[in-house]
């Protein structure tokens, strides 16, 4: 702060305190020309105004607050550049970047300044640091057996992850279920931890409409994909059988079989990520995040319409990176909690 503004603040602040004192002194004088305690000479309905002085307790208390004010300004930073005898401040307010913030914390500590926020954080680190350090020594799998870690992990999960994955971690359309032991990137603890630390961006599933040959192609590939799924395929067979029965022919089944066959030919393009057997990239050991299409887990819905939509316009789920927000220690504990959800004994 420039010395001008420092002086400005100091003069106005101290001037106000002195002004308050002078005002009090002035108000304690008797200007009325009437002795204290006697009538001011007017009354209404028998109510008289007496010339009473300010109550003693009140004016003394006012004096005490003024003295208190001077004491406070001596101890704490209030007067411009004066830092106060206690070296106290609430936080480092002039930080220009995160690294500068860290540097200022260190500098204030070295200078013996009492920065309230830094102290609060340091006290918490002292208390919780060793617990997290102990957790950090164990890998995710081992930590998922630790009851205390799971309790902390659950709370962190509810606070930070439940908005997308749900408080029961069962996810919703577009946001993966974390309790079904079905993984896009792999089921080991280290992979889960990587996902949380650095996030994931689903880039592979672009819109395939033109590549598969327009809207017809979309329908063909979708029909093939759904034919791989035992549950969906059985349902489709039942519908087709009903249609055939109604028309007393096998047209519907045949037409569908030809659609599926065309779709199968085009699926070669999809196989690069989803695998020739459509069991997904994790089954091939590739970190592509391409889901298994033969099981009954559907991130974006398993209806004909939803699958066609996925092929037509693509899907790109984004898992944000949490390393910068939570730090590695907390991510380790959350990873253990998430791992435990699919690996209950």
């Amino acid at each position: 702060m420039s010395s001008f503004w420092s002086t400005w603040i100091t003069v106005l602040t101290l001037g106000t305190l002195v002004g308050c004192y002078l005002l009090l002194r002035w108000c304690l004088k008797n200007f009325a020309g009437v002795p204290e305690g006697e009538s001011m000479g007017h009354e209404f309905d028998g109510i008289e105004e007496l010339n009473n002085p300010l109550p003693k307790w009140w004016s003394n208390f006012f004096l005490v607050t003024i003295v208190w004010g001077f004491g406070y300004l001596a101890l704490y930073p209030g007067l411009g550049n004066w830092e106060g005898l206690l070296g106290w401040k609430s936080s480092n307010q002039d930080v220009t970047s995160l690294s500068d913030s860290k540097a200022q914390v260190a500098a204030a500590k070295a200078a013996g300044l009492h920065v309230q926020y830094d102290r609060e954080v340091a006290r918490a680190d002292e208390r919780f640091g060793p617990i997290f350090a102990e957790f950090a020594k164990q890998d995710v799998e081992a930590l998922s057996k630790n009851e205390d870690a799971l309790k902390i992990g659950q709370r962190l999960f509810l606070q930070n992850c439940s908005q997308c994955h749900g408080s029961d971690a069962k996810g919703t359309t577009g946001f993966p279920n974390l309790v079904d032991n079905d993984w896009l990137y792999g089921d080991d603890g280290a992979t889960i931890e990587q996902t949380i630390l650095h996030g994931r961006v689903g880039r592979g599933m672009i819109g395939w409409q033109t590549m598969v040959g327009g809207e017809e192609g979309v329908k063909e590939v979708a029909a093939y994909v759904l034919s791989l799924n035992p549950v969906r395929a059985a349902k489709k067979r039942a519908t087709l059988a009903a249609e055939d029965k109604a028309s007393n022919s096998d047209k519907a089944t045949k037409a569908h079989a030809s659609t599926v066959a065309k779709g199968e030919a085009k699926f070669a393009m999809c196989a690069a990520c989803h695998g020739a057997d459509a069991k997904g990239s994790a089954a091939m050991g590739l970190p592509l995040g391409a889901p298994n299409l033969t099981d009954n887990v559907w991130l974006y819905g398993g209806s004909e319409r939803a699958v066609q939509q996925s092929i037509r316009n693509g899907r790109s789920g984004v898992m944000p990176a949490w390393k910068g927000i939570l730090g590695e220690d907390k991510v380790r504990v959350i990873s253990a909690y998430v791992y435990s959800l699919s690996n209950q004994d």
Partner: protein, 223 residues
């Protein structure tokens, strides 16, 4: 007149003038100096101006009154920084006109919400908050997906913000101010409107796209 204070009590002009003088002292001491302090007028290192789309989103944020329920001000208390991230500093807000710190938290603080959730999540949440957070009491903002947003005023807004922040922008090596938006920025203002894809699947960008872009930019300077 024996009672000297009657002069003040019985003359409204005096009373008015002296009252104003008395109550202005607090502001003169606590607020005025902040207009001239380095830490309240210098942008933090990695602060960048809003893009045209983010600026539209910010105006929608103001129009819908988001700041009535969401603050953008993380206080230096551990309980807050654990949840929201590094406490807010003045250098992050030097280009805000008006600032949107808010004073009430019916919903959570949004000062560093950028990057915390995916665009898909924001879209689902704005269309129907309870589809992702069952206990939420936030209203749904479905119309944001049905109103297209244009870059018609982007250049004018950039010019305006250049003027408003003239003395508080980044400085070059000679200490001269660098305007928030260069001539080039203004000439091509809002070109991203034509290249960005709407999350709604519609042909043109909708208000929800602008709002999500704005939300994703929040807190970028200190994380």
């Amino acid at each position: 007149m024996q009672n000297k204070h009657e002069k003040v009590e019985k003359h409204v002009g005096w009373f008015f003038t002296l009252t104003i003088a008395a109550i202005s002292i607090g502001g003169l001491v606590e607020i005025t100096p902040l207009f001239f302090q380095k830490e309240t007028t210098t942008p933090v290192e990695s602060l960048r101006p809003y893009t045209a789309l983010e600026m539209e989103g910010r105006d929608i944020y103001i129009r819908e009154g988001c700041n009535n329920c969401h603050s953008q001000m993380i206080r230096p208390l551990r309980a807050e920084t654990e949840r929201y991230g590094h406490y807010s500093v003045a250098g992050e807000s030097v280009w805000e006109h008006p600032f949107l710190w808010g004073s009430k938290r019916t919903g959570p603080d949004l000062a560093r919400v950028g990057g915390r959730y995916s665009d898909d999540w924001h879209y689902a949440h704005l269309m129907d908050p309870r589809s992702v957070v069952p206990q939420s009491n936030m209203p749904a903002y479905k119309w944001l997906a049905e109103t297209s947003v244009s870059n018609e005023l982007s250049a004018a807004k950039m010019e305006l913000f250049n003027g408003l922040t003239k003395n508080r922008s980044h400085k070059d090596e000679n200490g001269d101010p660098i305007p928030l938006y260069s001539r080039d920025d203004i000439a091509t203002a809002g070109s991203e409107f034509n290249t960005t894809k709407s999350i709604t699947g519609k042909e043109s960008l909708q208000e929800v796209d602008a709002l999500i872009a704005y939300l994703q930019s929040l807190g970028h300077a200190l994380k």
